[in-house]
């Protein structure tokens, strides 16, 4: 599980929260892949908005390190900060989506799902129009690998909300896939 805390991270977090700059830099480097990919997926990969939000999340974490109370919980804390940033940006984008067409940014094309016609591109397109809260739940549970309890803690909601968000996301995605001409595949014994 990605969120599992290694002693090194805890030690770095402890030193960083005490104001040690080198430790803060190293800690950010350790957290960066997790934070960046989480924010990117929640906001919508393949857009400059997502890339900017990922950078902003790293800055939020850098600024907040000194107020970190429990260094043992540093990854969960970083994910909370990152998710809050991603949700804030997503909601704003939802209110008024100002963005460049993905096709104008070849660098981002591979992650935008733009020219692809396959099943995963259809899932990506459907995922990007889910409500931000559902996207965040799915990313934390399925990409980051948090448990339902940990997801609830990061999102600041109940366990029941996490379960219903995830189910709602999967149901909506299945409907969208059908509309795009794909049958959703399911596994008989999977956990919901």
């Amino acid at each position: 599980m990605i969120v599992a805390v290694t002693p090194d991270i805890v030690s770095l977090a402890r030193r960083a929260s005490a104001g040690e700059t080198a430790a803060a830099d190293e800690l950010l480097r350790e957290l960066e892949p997790l934070v960046v990919r989480t924010v990117r997926l929640v906001v919508g990969s393949g857009s400059w908005t997502a890339e900017d939000a990922a950078q902003d999340a790293l800055l939020d974490i850098d600024r907040g390190l000194r107020s970190l109370r429990d260094p043992r919980a540093v990854k969960a804390w970083a994910l909370r900060v990152a998710t809050q940033r991603a949700l804030k940006v997503s909601r704003r984008e939802r209110l008024l989506w100002l963005r460049r067409a993905p096709s104008l940014d070849p660098e981002l094309l591979a992650e935008s799902g733009g020219p692809e016609t396959g099943r995963s591109a259809a899932i990506k397109a459907a995922f990007d129009i889910l409500p931000p809260r559902l996207r965040a739940t799915a990313v934390l549970r399925l990409y980051v690998g948090l448990s339902e309890d940990e997801t609830a803690e990061v999102l600041g909601c109940s366990l029941g909300t996490v379960k219903s968000n995830l189910h709602d996301a999967r149901k909506r995605l299945a409907g969208e896939l059908r509309e795009r001409g794909f049958e959703p595949t399911t596994l008989p014994k999977e956990a919901t």
């Binding site: 892949p33 990919r37 393949g46 008024l96 100002l98 067409a101 020219p115 397109a125 149901k171 959703p184």
Partner: protein, 230 residues
């Protein structure tokens, strides 16, 4: 298999899709924000280009060339909604930092309105670029809007293509600008061939499917395939 699962996408498949689109471990920097020595030189060149092209626009270069619906003296109809002006002004500074020039909001021209109420405006940029601003998308709230920017239209790039869906309960809208002389746009959507007419230099299609195999039809009867179907 439970009925509940049969209606939902599998956890494994969703997790796999997320993995595919998670991207690199570090955030990309917009070109103008690169801090390397070479990046600074490139940024300086970009700023210079903006100034040069901006001057070119002021001197008469027209990003609306070939878009008859946008070539008219400004009237009260061209005034952008206040909420959009405010957000575009904010976005304009971001564009400038990216090296794309700023939005010339006074250049905005209302070009058409769809029966659904969706309205289209063209806006020039100081870098000689062309933007299409839209408001009143189906399903959007009162302050919803969109902006797509790129180079001005040309014979080799006769239309722009954008596609938006506000939420699951509203239709996807695919739309764009079309150069004078383009009479219709054809494409494959949802397995069927479709053709929409161009009106006031705008084409638009409401439908859930993504568009494939896009072809433009010219007024001399010729066609031009822009995106091959696969």
């Amino acid at each position: 298999m439970s009925t509940q699962n049969a209606l939902a996408i599998s956890l494994d498949e969703l997790a796999t899709a997320l993995e595919i689109y998670a991207g690199p471990p570090r955030p990309r920097r917009r070109p103008v924000q690169r801090l390397s020595r070479r990046g600074r030189v490139v940024s300086a060149a970009a700023v210079l280009a903006v100034v040069v092209v901006g001057t070119a626009y002021a001197a008469g270069f027209n990003p609306f060339a070939g878009i008859s619906a946008a070539n008219h003296p400004a009237t009260s109809r061209d005034r952008l909604p206040a909420f959009l002006t405010a957000r575009l002004a904010e976005f304009s500074s971001t564009m400038e930092k990216m090296g794309h020039g700023h939005l010339l909001l006074k250049s905005a021209r209302s070009i058409t309105e769809l029966p659904s109420g969706m309205r289209f405006y063209t806006i020039a940029t100081s870098a000689g670029g062309l933007c299409l601003a839209t408001v009143n998308h189906p399903g959007a709230n009162a302050k919803g809007g969109g902006l797509e920017c790129g180079d001005s239209l040309s014979r080799s790039r006769p239309i722009t293509i954008a596609s938006e869906q506000v939420n699951h309960s509203t239709p996807r809208v695919s739309y764009g600008l079309a150069l004078d002389g383009v009479t219709a746009v054809s494409f494959r959507a949802g397995g069927a061939e479709r053709t929409v007419a161009v009106k006031d230099n705008v084409w638009a299609y409401e439908g859930q499917a993504n568009l494939r195999a896009i072809t433009v039809h010219w007024d001399n009867g010729s066609t031009q395939t822009l995106i091959d179907g696969r």
